[in-house]
């Protein structure tokens, strides 16, 4: 772990515990810091508690009958633990939820409009859209077709674009690479890196695809069974033997591990 002094973190999460339905302890004291302007990865296998961590930060926990039972979350120095999800978006936190979830019956253009913050002028919205279409030229081509019929990659781009309309200073993404071909993952991650560089937007990236994620982030956290078990620079994590064995496809057993968790998790999704 590195201890060097950094700029004040945009996000600081301290020993956070989350309970679902008042009984299911999904994360057990997670502490994470996102330094302003950096890209951070949150890695771990299925069921480890990655999505729960993001939902605790975005406030979407409430929609799933979850709550923070211990710890606190500070965003730009303010405690947001009690702030409503929609107000957190206004403060600059946007969460691209798992599984793309674009508004299927709307066009991509309407998807972007739907996310416009209250009070954003028409010209500001149009300028924002043009910027997003510049980042994702594929979306520009299909801006007036029905979003439900876009390809998986295009939907993921749209989900990210839709989040950008809210003008976040912290963008959180939940497994954006899921189910996408490697060349698309590379394209999308490249664009994320560009946005991070050009706009100074901080990014918290949740991934199972550690190999791809560690290429673009500066630091990573590894989470297992609801606890952070490792934290280090991307370089350090890439060369760590455990990480190599379990998450970079070096060893055996990975598949079994994932399958077991996957079947367990499917229950919650259905």
């Amino acid at each position: 772990m590195q201890e060097k002094a950094e700029a004040a973190p945009i996000l600081s999460m301290n020993s956070v515990e989350v309970l679902y339905d008042n009984i299911m302890l999904a994360i057990k004291g997670v502490s994470i810091q996102v330094p302003t302007g950096e890209m951070i990865a949150l890695l771990g296998s299925n069921g480890a508690g990655k999505s729960t961590t993001l939902k605790a930060i975005s406030g979407l926990l409430k929609a799933e009958r979850g709550r923070i039972s211990r710890g606190e979350i500070a965003f730009q120095g303010t405690d947001i633990t009690e702030v409503l999800a929609q107000n957190r978006v206004g403060m600059g936190i946007c969460h691209v939820i798992e599984g793309r979830r674009v508004f299927e019956h709307l066009t991509p253009d309407e998807n972007l409009t739907a996310a416009a913050p209250r009070g954003m002028s028409r010209s500001a919205l149009n300028a924002e859209k043009e910027k997003i279409y510049n980042y994702f030229p594929r979306l520009a081509e299909r801006r007036n077709s029905q979003a439900g019929y876009l390809s998986g990659g295009e939907q993921q781009m749209l989900a990210i674009g839709r989040a950008l309309v809210t003008q976040p200073s912290l963008l959180m993404l939940d497994e954006p690479s899921l189910g996408l071909a490697p060349f698309l993952v590379e394209e999308i991650f490249g664009i994320l890196q560009k946005i991070n560089r050009e706009e100074g937007m901080s990014v918290l990236l949740v991934e199972q695809n550690a190999l791809a994620a560690l290429e673009i982030v500066s630091q990573g956290y590894l989470i297992e069974n609801g606890r952070v078990v490792m934290h280090g620079t991307a370089e350090a994590l890439k060369s760590n033997s455990d990480i190599q064995e379990f998450y970079l496809g070096g060893g055996e057993g990975t598949n079994f591990h994932n399958v077991k968790h996957y079947s367990r998790r499917k229950r919650w999704l259905s």
Partner: protein, 295 residues
């Protein structure tokens, strides 16, 4: 059977059908945001009519003032229903919300009965009962006025759903969680859809109240309105208009032929048949959205 008579049946059927569409538009508005057919729309329609009566007959306001004022009151009531009752159910299974709307309908009927009693009262819109002659055809003026209101609301809502607020409502209908994730207030959106449906209920209540009087029977419009909404596709305003015309024509023309055979009452049978066949053959109706297979 001559052609003039047949076209007269068809045209008056279509006009009556548009009055069902008026009712169905209210159902569609709520379905779009909550994915639930609002079984209380009949109750709301009746309350809308009673509020107009209370403001005009009882408080002595002129109708041109009483109707917009009732619309404002009902707009508030719609928001109130979301705030008090629906918000607690957000995220619960749709069947629970459906049962809630049923309970609400019973509550609204009971309340109107307690306050205004069971005797039928009339709303005098001042539309002449003299039929209108279109060439050789007889046409009912009040039906024509009502159909005009339905078409006007249709146009207004088509435009509304292209505005930013309208797009946000459609987004809510698609995915609550994704809406929250980009800061859309789902609660506010659902409240707005109830508020708008309650305003539509005022229009429906006034027109139908003028035609058949204001009493508990107004709430039974739900059956025909629901049939139209289902045939149109539940979430399509255009569907509500087209399906209303179709049902109205089938009902009016069909009853003319069937009534002598079965000795009356065939209108209800025709409506029931349309509802049942739609659900069996084309569950998403004429214009309803299909659920898109994920790629």
């Amino acid at each position: 059977m001559d052609w003039v008579f047949l076209s007269e049946l068809a045209i008056n059927g279509a006009l009556t059908g548009l009055l069902y569409s008026l009712f169905a538009i209210g159902l569609v508005l709520i379905y779009k945001a909550s994915s639930v057919p609002n079984l209380a729309q009949g109750g709301l329609t009746m309350v809308g009519a009673y509020v107009v009566l209370a403001l005009s007959h009882d408080a002595g306001l002129p109708l041109w003032l009483a109707i917009p004022l009732a619309a404002v009151i009902m707009f508030g009531l719609g928001f109130g229903i979301e705030r008090v009752a629906l918000r607690r159910l957000a995220g619960r299974p749709v069947i629970m919300i459906l049962m809630l709307t049923l309970g609400l309908d019973i509550f609204l009927r009971g309340t109107t009965l307690a306050i205004w009693g069971g005797t039928s009262r009339s709303i005098e819109l001042g539309v002449s009962y003299e039929p209108l002659f279109l060439g050789d055809l007889f046409i009912s003026r009040i039906h024509l006025v009502g159909a005009g209101v339905a078409v006007a609301l249709f146009v207004a809502f088509m435009l509304f759903f292209r505005t930013r607020t309208g797009i946000k409502l459609r987004a809510i209908a698609d995915d609550y969680m994704a809406s929250w994730s980009v800061g859309i207030s789902v609660e506010h959106g659902v409240g707005l859809s109830w508020a708008l449906a309650s305003v539509v209920a005022v229009a429906t209540g006034v027109i139908w109240g003028e035609i058949q009087g204001v009493d508990q029977a107004l709430s039974l419009l739900l059956l025909k309105g629901l049939t139209v909404a289902v045939l149109g596709g539940l979430d399509s305003i255009l569907g509500a208009i087209v399906a209303g015309i179709i049902l109205g024509v089938i009902e009016n023309v069909g009853a003319e032929f069937l009534d002598p055979l079965v000795g009356g009452g065939s209108r209800e049978l025709i409506v029931a048949a349309v509802l049942i066949l739609t659900v069996m053959i084309r569950p998403h109706g004429l214009f309803g959205r299909h659920d898109i297979e994920r790629v």
